[in-house]
Each structure stands twice: as structure tokens, then as C-alpha cells.
Symmetry: C4
Subunit: 375 residues, 4 copies
């Protein structure tokens, strides 16, 4: 699917989706970390039916895969979040609309209703944040996800080199390359200017701003902000982007109901620990006081199984659904979700579990760990 997306998207868009921070060490490490953990399967246990459903904050998911919040999905395909939301709901899951998304939060909920979540970036201005949260509450979003690993934007050098701006407007040097993608251009023309759909009142014109100079983040935010949000928001509140037991403790102390262990897909701090390596420590520290999810590097059903065996309730995927969206719109996203569902189903059968609840850490062992051999 990624290969199709690469073919269909102008390089500036593909790199915006695909790239990571600086040397992309973490981007590669995210995959290597999953591969370094191997599975210990159990056989001769009846697995004629496998149930990969899970419950997150009391709601059933058909499959433990949620669509992660991502910026400007309409760049991948003109229908953007709407197409993704239809595909998600049809597959028993939901999307997480991003503050930096390209669809108005009210429109998404009205046109493609579902138990969607809303992801929040904080502006320095509390009033603006309050307005945004209240709009999300009013629109019916089920949960609020506060992303905390973007006090400042990571240095995504592909974007810096391409001069990526929001609203999107490719600079002259890239125009020739963009011109080679007529199908994408047609969609783009249909979409109209693609920018942040939730920042301003409709009608206000945004001027293209260099991606690294955008202001929808608040480096001054601290635990107080989290406590304030806790007061303001009535549903489940998740904190996304934590990688340490210490931060998980703090988040729970401030009232978080859930934690998304994440390194932002390697797009923020290059050289940070991988989320799958950080997970067990956080699970041990939290001990059931909050629900733990994970993203960053999930590409295969076995990755999902490993994350759940190590204590996650579900995972989020980012790039994969954008690749699907770019490759085939709603159908592409659906295809990605269905492939993952098949892979999870196969993986469950092959590790000998009928449901996610049977998975635990005994199903995982590090590569090269050999007992009883001279070391």
C-alpha cells in the first residue's frame, strides 16, 4: 500500500507523511524494536473462533486498531478524514480527528458519525483551547486526546528542505514534480485550499505559513493544563506521547484515564526510545489505573499482538491509513484495516489465543535469548 501511495503522491506530500525527524534514526528504530521481539506461540489450543475485539473506555472495538490523529489528511486524498471515518466506522473502529486536521470537527461528526475521538494541541491562549474543547464536546466526540510530545515541532528535515507550508502551497522548485501527478492534482483542485480546518472561523483566510513556524502548540503547558482539561472535559481523557513511567504516574495523578505510549512515529525527537520498548515499564508502573494504548511503528498484525501481550489495550496507526487513503480513498483505508484485521486474526490463531485477553508477556521473548547456553 505504501508503494502505491508513493507513486500516487507528489514527493512533497509523500515526504510530509512518510518522513521523520532529523536523521530518522527513531523512524527506523521503531521497526527494528518490533522485530527484536519474537513471539512464543502456544499450540493445540482450540482457536476455531478468534475474537480480536477489545474494549476501550467501555466501548467495544471490533479490532484493537484505532486511526491515529494526523495532520492534513486531505493532502493524501481530497476526501481526507471523511473517507477515513467512513472506512473506520464500517470496520468497527473510529478515527481521532487532529487539531491540525483538514476537516472541520463539526462537519466530520455530522457527516460521518461515529465514536470518534478528538486530538488536542494546546495554544498558548487558554480561551482558544477552551473554545476548541467545548466545540469537540458539543460535536459529540467520545474522548479527548491531549498530545504532549509536541511542545515544539520536531525537525522534519524533508519538510524543511521542501519548504512545506500550511495551507499547502508547493513552492516553485517542486511544481514540476507535482505536475507529474495529474490524478492528485484533480483531487486537490476539488478539495480547494487545504489547511487547518479548525483554527479559525470559516471564511477567514489563512496565509501559507512555514510548517515549523505554526503556533498551535504551547511549550508552557504543564500538569496544570492537564488538570484544567480534566475539569473541562467530561469524557475519557487520554495523554498521548508519553514514554516514561514517571510521566505516566504524573498523568494519572492529574486525572488522565488513558495513556498512548508513542514517539510520534519518529517525527518529534530523533533518538528517543521506541514505544514498544518503553511500554512494559509504563504498564508495570500504571498497574491498571489507566488504559494504555500504543502507536509508532505498528505495521503488521504481529506488532499489534506483541503490543497487547506487553500490556496495551489497543494500538493506533498513522502512516498506514494515510497510505491507504492516498492509494484509494475510503476503500484504501478500509483495505488497510481489513488487512490488519486478517493479520491479527492469523497471528492470534498462530499464537494460540482466542481473544486478546489471553495474551500476556509470556508470549514475548527477545531475539537471541537462549536459555541454558554458554554465554
Amino acid at each position: 500500500v505504501r508503494a502505491i501511495a508513493k507513486r500516487r503522491l507528489p514527493r512533497i506530500v509523500f515526504d510530509f507523511i512518510d518522513g521523520g525527524a532529523e536523521d530518522e534514526v527513531t523512524l527506523r528504530a521503531n521497526r527494528a524494536a518490533f522485530e527484536a521481539l519474537t513471539l512464543r506461540p502456544r499450540y493445540l489450543r482450540p482457536v476455531e473462533t478468534r475474537d480480536q475485539s477489545t474494549t476501550v473506555f467501555g466501548r467495544r472495538l471490533e479490532s484493537p486498531v484505532i486511526l491515529a490523529p494526523t495532520g492534513l489528511p486531505r493532502l493524501a486524498h481530497w476526501e481526507g478524514e471523511r473517507a477515513a471515518a467512513r472506512a473506520a466506522v464500517a470496520n468497527g473502529t473510529h478515527v481521532t480527528l487532529a487539531t491540525g486536521g483538514s476537516t472541520r470537527l463539526e462537519d466530520l461528526m455530522e457527516e460521518t458519525p461515529g465514536p470518534h475521538w478528538f486530538q488536542l494541541y494546546l495554544w498558548p491562549e487558554r480561551a482558544r483551547n477552551e473554545a476548541m474543547v467545548k466545540r469537540a464536546q458539543a460535536a459529540g466526540y467520545r474522548a479527548l486526546v491531549l498530545t504532549v510530545d509536541v511542545p515544539v515541532l520536531g525537525r522534519r528535515e524533508r519538510d524543511l528542505r521542501h519548504g512545506f507550508t500550511v495551507p499547502f502551497r508547493p513552492r516553485l522548485g517542486m511544481a514540476l514534480e507535482v505536475a507529474r501527478h495529474p490524478r492528485w492534482i484533480a483531487g486537490y483542485a476539488r478539495a480547494g485550499p487545504i489547511g487547518f480546518a479548525n483554527f479559525d472561523e470559516p471564511g477567514t483566510r489563512q496565509r501559507p505559513t512555514a510548517h515549523h513556524k505554526l503556533t498551535h502548540r504551547n511549550p508552557a503547558a504543564g500538569l496544570d493544563e492537564l488538570r484544567w482539561l480534566r475539569e473541562l472535559w467530561e469524557g475519557p481523557l487520554l495523554v498521548k506521547g508519553l514514554l516514561t513511567a514517571e510521566d505516566a504516574e504524573d498523568a494519572i495523578a492529574c486525572g488522565a484515564d488513558g495513556i498512548i505510549v508513542s514517539n510520534h512515529g519518529g517525527r518529534q525527537l530523533d533518538g528517543v526510545q521506541t514505544s514498544i520498548d518503553a511500554l512494559p515499564q509504563i504498564v508495570a508502573a500504571v498497574g491498571g489505573r489507566a488504559e494504555i494504548l500504543l502507536d509508532s511503528g505498528v505495521r503488521r498484525g504481529t506488532d499489534v499482538v506483541k503490543a497487547i501481550a506487553l500490556g496495551a489495550r489497543a494500538v493506533l496507526i498513522g502512516r498506514p491509513w494515510l497510505w491507504g487513503l492516498a492509494a484509494g480513498g475510503e476503500a484504501g483505508v478500509a483495505r488497510v484495516l481489513q488487512l490488519l484485521r486478517i493479520e491479527i486474526d492469523t497471528a492470534l490463531a498462530l499464537v494460540g489465543c482466542r481473544s486478546l485477553g489471553e495474551l500476556d508477556a509470556s508470549y514475548v521473548v527477545r531475539t537471541g535469548a537462549v536459555e541454558n547456553v554458554r554465554n
Copy 2:
């Protein structure tokens, strides 16, 4: 030998033999795991004669290498299992005919008698399984091997992409490539339609079915099925595909006489532990209550020596004999067995053992393990 096989076979057939599941992480890991274990040789011990024979369930094998069950060997060469069985018996070993084999079980035993084993996949219908087991018993198979790591089929993406079907019929897109292998086509013409030879009564016509939709597996099978088989089958009963001490315990408790530690050559669950890494733990748990064999990744005589040093009585090879079969029919399989025999003989001499019985875990040390150096 693999290189010759690759040249001689259409890509769809070569990939069916050579491929692994999903990203083929486990396929590569199987080799890396053997390489990560190094040998500790003993010298100045008389090794003028080396005896690589072993005893498996009371029967002598000239060499500790058995031919693993594989699906549809006649795709590699029109003579299929018959050629392999002749080569195996001539070299003091035997084949394991697969449920999914391409030669009728009665025909194989009649035309190329030997102490062959029969590998069993379970259908959901117990009557069908019973019929198959009884046929195998009547035909004189010495041991029954129940494969347990295929409750569902692993996702072999090369096959999925090629649209591999059984009985074999290459789809249009592959025809041109197939046409470039006239020698293979001649053999194929001679073989007639190649399908599962043991599923139906002769004369019944099978329709091509996508490989991943075949039904000769029973995800509902549990330890009860193993106990039932134990009652039914009179000879040695092996369980193939285990990778944990826990499962080995269960299998023995249900009456298994032998265990084949295996990850199905990386064709089932991608990202699973390698069999050579799993072996010592299982050997320690079993403690002599059953005979332990191993497959997945065995390519060299030193691999065999490592497996036996860590507690296996013998190993099985899969792809290597299919490569030999593809490269030269019976003579090709014989060549593979003889090369391995020479390598095992050389390896035994060079680690200072006159027989397999002298090998133990003191002959193996992990790469990079250095005593007395600052770590």
C-alpha cells in the same frame, strides 16, 4: 543447489517453496540464529571413524537427517515424493509424507518402501481424520507426525501475490514466465494435474482452490484431539511445530512420543522465535521423556551438530530436499543428503567427536561471549 533449482523452476513454484510468511523476518532469523551460536571444538581426540548414525524411536538412521513433510513436491519435479523416498532410503533415512503431499500414501509405500513417516493435518471432521490415520497405519507408515502450528495458514505473501492455487494452475499473468521453463513444463505434462493426492478418492476431480482457502486444517483442534490420536495410532506419535516448554509438557502429558521443534521454516507465524533458540528450553523441560527433533533453518552440517549438541536427536530438512529434487530429481535429493552427510562427518571430526552421543551443550557458545573481559 538452491541456485540450480531457482533456474529450473517457474517463479510461482520456486516462491511457493522458498517463501516465508509476511516480511520473512523469521525466514532470515532462522539462519541468523544458527550463525549466532559458535562451536567449541575439542582436539587430539581420536576421530578416525565418525559415526553419525542415530536412533529415533528404536530405528537406526545412518545420518540424523530426515526429509520433512512438504506440500506438493511434484511441483518441483514430476516424480515428487517417489524420487525423494528412493533417495532417502538409499541414504539410510526416510521421508515424511505430508497430508498435503502430491503422491497417494499407499502408492508411496508400495512403490518405494521404507520406514517412512506420515504427517497429519486434521480436518474439522473427525471421521475424515480417522480414515486418513487408518490408511496410514494400514499402509505401514512407522510414525505419525501431527503438525500443530497450522491452525490457520500463515500469510505467505509471495503465494498470495501469485494467486497460487491447488491443484496447481498458474494464472494468466504468470504464464509467460512459466513458458520460459520448457524442461519443467515437460515434467509437468508428464505428471498430470498436481494436487493433493490424499484428500479424495481417486477419480474425484478437485477444482483449483486458492491456497489460503484450503480446508485441511482444524483450528478447533486441542489436546483432546491429540489424546484421541494417541488412542488411534499404534506407532510413535510426534507433535511437530512446538516452540515452548509449556506446549512440550502438554504434548507429553497427552502421550506424544516425540516433539519436532519447528517454526515451519518461517512459513507460518512471522516474528516467532527460532527453533534453535527455543530448543534448549524444551530439552530441559522434557528431560528425556520424549525424543526431540528440530527443523527450520538447517542448511549445513554444523547446524545439525549444533542442534544435536543442544539436545535434538535428529533434524528434518525441508527446502533443501525440494531444491535437490528440482535440480535433479532423485539424484538431486541424494546429492543434498550426501553433502550434508559429508559436512556432518567433517564437523564431527573437527569438534572431536566420534559419534553424536558425545555432543553436549559444552560444544556451543554464543558469538561474542568472552570471559574475563571488561563488559
Copy 3:
């Protein structure tokens, strides 16, 4: 920046800057060692302002990055140390003029004043060393850096192959390649002969000498030399090039105020430990009795953050500023410093620290370290 420098410099000059000793194992290891350490970030801590200033020997640095001493910078750009010193001071830091520099120490201090440091190699003749130290003191250098890891020159095989000499004079075989860099030649013509500017009284003519036969190093130097220097020099005295706790102890016992943990950028002993791996042991041994700095392999802001988390007060960069110098003279060096500053600022924000002082070893974890997983 390195890519631009590579384009702009003749190969003999680029290799002199870029190369390492022998097989360049250490050169590569320096990068791998930083990548093997990952960061444990803390979030939801207010980081609206980040202060990357530090204090080294009582003087404030705007950023914890000092320009390391390097031989013959004027080969990279005709303005050499002067350009670098202007860029450094403008960015709140300073240079370390090398004994083997290409600018007279008095000239540098007069023309581009700043809190610069002077790096010392010892000649066998103590009088000559004394004269040099006194010149540096008189000229106003703030600190003296004694490099101790060059008792003899490491075998930099690129230089040996190219027949690199000082003063620089490319041998015939390289002339053609040099000729392809007219812009560099123009600068070189403007610079006049480039040699060691501090060895002889002005006016004395130096004859080209093979780089490996130069005599400004004293393999006989021992701790006595350090004690003698301590007597002679009035400001802070640093020892550069140590990699062991034992040597750090000795240096402090002889009166050193600071230690630069370094493997000379992989240019001296190939196969030596990396400085980032050696750092924690030295920090533990020193326990605050001296200030500890680090160089060798620092390329990114996250590298700086890791070094400081593990106990360094600041780092030095070598090749990066020479690349900047080659790419754009003063502006190029400034660009390198500014990029690093931005990266450090971003990294601080993203690990959740407002100042360098908040960093400690809890922010670092080795790649692949996973708690609570079966090993």
C-alpha cells in the same frame, strides 16, 4: 554542510579533514555509540523558554558547544581561524586555537578577540614549550588545553596515500584533481603558503614535511609535564584526549581543572573506546573535582543533550565547523553553530528541560533495553 564542503574542497584537503586512523572503525563507532543511546523524554513540563547556556570555568557560554582545535583550518578556507573566531564569538562561544593551527596566536587574539582557548602540543624541548605557553598567556588566551592523545601521530591512511605535507603542497599526482576546484585555488592563492603559523618566528621559511614526520609532539611527556604546566599556566588547564577513569584521576592529581573526554575524532588510535561510552565512568570517578567536556562524534543537538545528561558540561565540535568553514567561511561556521543551537533547543524542549542543569542520566537508556520482558 558536509556535502557542500566535499564538493568545494580538493580531495586531499577534504580527506585530511574527514579521515580517521587506519580502518576508520572508531570514526564509524563514534556515530554508532551516540545512536545506541536513546533518550527518555519528560512531557507536560513547561518549556516555553529553554536556556542552553552553560558555564565553563566561570564563563558563560550561550550554547554548550565550543570549537575544537584543528590543524590547518586555512586549508578549508583561506580565512581559517579568523573566520571561525568571528562566527564563534558572534554566537556566544569561542574557538580553541591549535598549536598546529594556521593563524598566529597573537594575530587571532588581536584581530578577533574573545575568550578563546589555546591548545598545546608539547615539543620535546621544554624551553620551546615554555615560550609557546608564555606567548599564549601574554596574548590573553583564557584556558590552556593540553592534548595528550598524540604522543605519536595516528596513522591516517588517507593522508599517507595522498602524501599530505605541511606546509601544504599537493604532490603532482593530485594536481589535476586540485585543479578542478578553481574557487578553492583562488582562496589558496590569497592565503599564501599554509603551514603551522606558530612554530617559528615569522619570516622563517618552513619546508614541506610529510605529515607523519612532524615533531610537535613529545612521546616522553608524562605527568611531570602536566605538573610543570600547572605551575607555568595561570588560567584553567584542561587535559584533552582521556578515555579512562584512571587517567582522569591522575590528571586531577596533577592539577588539571578540566578534562576533555575524546578519541580525537577517530584520528588517533583506531579501535579505541568511544568518548560517549567512556564518559559515565569518568564522570563517576571525578565526582565534580574537575569540569568534564567531550568531543568525537558530536553532530546533532541530541548528541549534545546525551553528553550533558551523562555528565559533560559542554562539547567540542571539530569536523562540523571545518565543513562549515569550507562551505561558506565565517557564515558557514555561524550556520553550523546556529543549526546546532536550534537542534539543542528543540531537543531540550522535547525531553522536557528548561536548562541543561535539569538533564541527568535518567534521560538516557540504551537501545533495546526493555524491562520486564523474557530475556
Copy 4:
């Protein structure tokens, strides 16, 4: 030097020298194992003179590098062992003439006298072995080296493919390639047939025999053979090819004065432990009761320093001197020895030792070993 040798030699000869057993895993591992050990240098210790001499069995070596026994050196250059012996003696060391050498043992000692060693392979016939040992004693060889890791020949697949025979006679398929090396052919013509010079009485004609069918090895040899040799031989007796503490104990118990830790340069058992990894364990077990040497993978002065730090008294080099011989005859071997001497001298200076005796295990640390960091 290897590159020159590769150019100058026909492929069949180059591969005979350069190749290893089977997949050449050990050949590569030998290098990787040295690279995985890093040095911990000590500075500010006077190293104005470095003495790399050592004493092996009471004789002084100018440098701790001895020429290892190798088969048929005259294939690399028509002067073979004679040229190497001249170069060795001129550089303060000596050669080890191999049983499988291409120069008569009496001729070598007469024409190029020196404190050479003689390497022994055992025939099954004790009388033949006795005759050989007595000839070596009579000719004045200083020490006898019994190679024990060749009870049978390792499977060097490059030689098997090329049909390498002794006396050397390239088969037809290789002739064209050989013809492209006129300079080598001229030397070969001058040398006359190149075979084992010590097997038969002069004048006897040897017929070309496939390399793997040669009989100068005795798989029946055991510790009795070693005891018998101990009786027979009057000078120092070394055992070459051990890799375990257990074997070292046995050898000493049988009267061995020295042990050469070796994996035969990766030419015998592929997948065996590397000699540098095996060394510390053997040194610890032997505790000074015998002198320990090492070969296999030594290419750089730092490798020599690492081996000596871990307890070897000297090292042997094999391929490097053959490369030198092929590249430039006597001068080529001398060049290799001198380069190593310069590198050892540099390495000694750079780790802060004036003599080999100062080196110990504190100078070595594994790559990636970092104290006080969260693991």
C-alpha cells in the same frame, strides 16, 4: 597489499590463499571479533621509546609477530618460503615451515638460516612421522608446532569448485583465467612443479591429487601422539589450533610448552568460536604453565595489542604474509612485517605502554559497554 596480491594472482591461487570453509562465517567473524573489542588507552605516560620485542621460549623476537605455517607458499611467488624466511630473519622474527610447505625443510634451513619453527601434520604411519620429526630436529628447527585442528580437512568450497590439486595443476576451465597473469606464469615456470616438498624423497614424482583427498593428517591421533612427540622432540613443543580451556589443560598435561589459539584462519570448522574470544578463557586456565600465542584474523597492529593485552605472548600471521609474498616476494613480506611493526609501535604509544609487558586486560573493553547507564 591484499589488493595487489589479488591482482597479481590467478583466481584459483588467490582463492586457495584467501578462502575459508563453507559459508566463511568464521572468516568474517574473526575480523568482527577484533573490532568488537575496543582499547582503553592510558596517556601522559612517557612512551618516547617503545619496545615491541618479546621473548618466546627464551628467544627474543624484535616484534611479536611470527609467520604462520601455510601450505604451498610458492604458489604465491616462486621463491616461496625462502623469500619469506629472508624477510622474517631480517625483521627479527622467523617463519614456521609447514609440513605442507613447498620448500624442502633442509634446504630452507641451509639457505636461509634462522630460528625457524617446523609445523607438523601427522600421517597415520608413526614411522613416517618419526622420520619427519627427526629430519626437522637434524636440520636445526627451534620448535615443533603440532597442528591439531585438521584431523580432516575443512571444506573450503572455493577450492572444491576450482578443483584445486597438489602438485598444482589448474584444470582446463581455469586456464584462460590463469593465462591473464603472465608475470605469475613466468614465476611458476621458473619454480617447476609446485607440490609438497617434504613428503617424499627427492626425485619421486607426485601425481596431482585433489586437495581434499590428501593423506597427511591423522584423524586417529590423540593425546598419546602428543606424549610420544614430547618424548621424541627435544626443543619447545607447541600445540596449534586449540580453542578451549579443556584442551589447553590436556595439552599441558601431555608436556606441551606452548599453545597457539587458532581457528585456522576460518579454513577448518566454519562456525567455530573466534580465537580472540577464546583466548581469555584459555589464558585463565593455563595460568602461566605454558606460553600462549594466537592467530586467525590478525591484520592490524591494534589486533596484536589486543591479543597481547588478553594474555598472548605473540601472534602469528598467515594470509598477510602470503599477500605480501604474492605482491612483492621477499620485499613484499618485509613490507608487511614493517607495516605491522609500525602499527604496533603506534598502537603501543597510543595506549601508553613502553613495552608489551605493560599490557593487561584492563586495556580492553567490549564495544558498547557503558557503565552507569540505564540498561
